[in-house]
Amino acid sequence: MTQAPERSQPHRVWPGGGMEEGESLRCLEMASRELLDRLRQGNRRGGHRRRIVHAEPDSEELRYLSAMRANANAGGPTLTHLVLRVDARKVEVLEEFLHGTQFRCGLLGRMNLIEAEIHVKRFMMRHCKLLGISPEDFDVIRRMLGTYR
């Protein structure tokens, strides 16, 4: 397990317009060290904590994310083991965290993968203020949802 990287400048996402073949969407705001620490610690009673691993260069975790063309992953017996890229975005961390919540609530036994991802993205959009999602990242999530149609 490694420490989160220092907060860096957001990466630029291509300017407006639809998603073209071969392009990928990524949110702007980086995951802060504070957010990752909070997820590691869990709630006040230590519940709902997450194990977080950063996919370092040459690691199997990074090779896995690349093979899946993914930026983050939730796994483990209760989907509380998160694998993140070293430049993980806040929204990616929130999404993987929420997959664990979906599992705990029993939702994943009733949804296929795509439904689970749509469900979690809609949740983030509905609760964007609570989750502190910026308008720019909200727009990226909205465009991600558009790719499922």
Binding site: Y64, A67, M68, N73, G75, L79, L108, L113
Partner: protein, 189 residues
């Protein structure tokens, strides 16, 4: 078979990963489509001619960059030592799965027991206010389309040997207003 019935998935493994926390992750394609929900538990791992049983965890969920041509991934914490000279194409997993969807809906006729969800169509395109799903016989020689309208509490069924036949029957019944949803309750003392 009801909507919670378990079936078997088969994954042709294209790559294997050994995570730093000890998990072995199998990535591959399954032959049951995107509506298959892979279930955790006992799973048969075949490597060439060798077969063993492993415990797999719930399917891994990824924040993917592209959703097309999606690979599936399951992990095990079992201590595995795969032969070095084995290629990923020789590895297969067989485990429990469930198809997403509800075969039996309250007050609405259910598809024949042997029918399975039609993954190619998922649901017919329907008029405003109607939802539906699509089922097919295992040999794909018969289609069963079902649609329902919650606002008017009506439903319609379309059957046919071909999808377009069944769809035409379904849309015709919708145009005629459909059948009323009927819920009968019997009290027992």
């Amino acid at each position: 078979m009801n909507d919670r019935a378990e079936m078997t998935f088969r994954m042709a493994v294209v790559d294997v990963f050994k995570f730093s926390d000890g998990r072995t992750v199998f990535v591959g394609k399954i032959d049951s489509g995107e509506d298959a929900i892979l279930l955790p538990g006992k799973c048969e791992l075949s490597v060439g001619d060798l077969t063993t049983e492993i415990d797999i965890q719930p399917e891994m969920l990824s924040h993917v960059q592209q959703i097309d041509d999606r690979l599936r991934a399951v992990a095990t914490s079992n201590n595995l030592s795969l032969p070095n000279n084995v290629s990923s194409g020789q590895i297969t997993l067989r485990g429990r799965m469930r198809m997403r969807g509800h075969r039996d809906l309250v007050g609405i006729e259910s598809p024949p027991r042997e029918f399975v969800p039609d993954r190619m169509t998922l649901g017919p395109r329907l008029p405003e206010g109607w939802d539906g799903d699509s089922w097919t016989s295992p040999d794909e020689s018969s289609c069963y389309l079902r649609a329902w309208n919650k606002a008017t509490a009506t439903y319609a069924i379309g059957r046919g040997n071909r999808y377009d036949e069944a769809r035409a029957v379904l849309l015709d019944e919708i145009a005629r207003g459909g059948r009323p949803v009927e819920i009968s309750v019997r009290s027992a003392v």
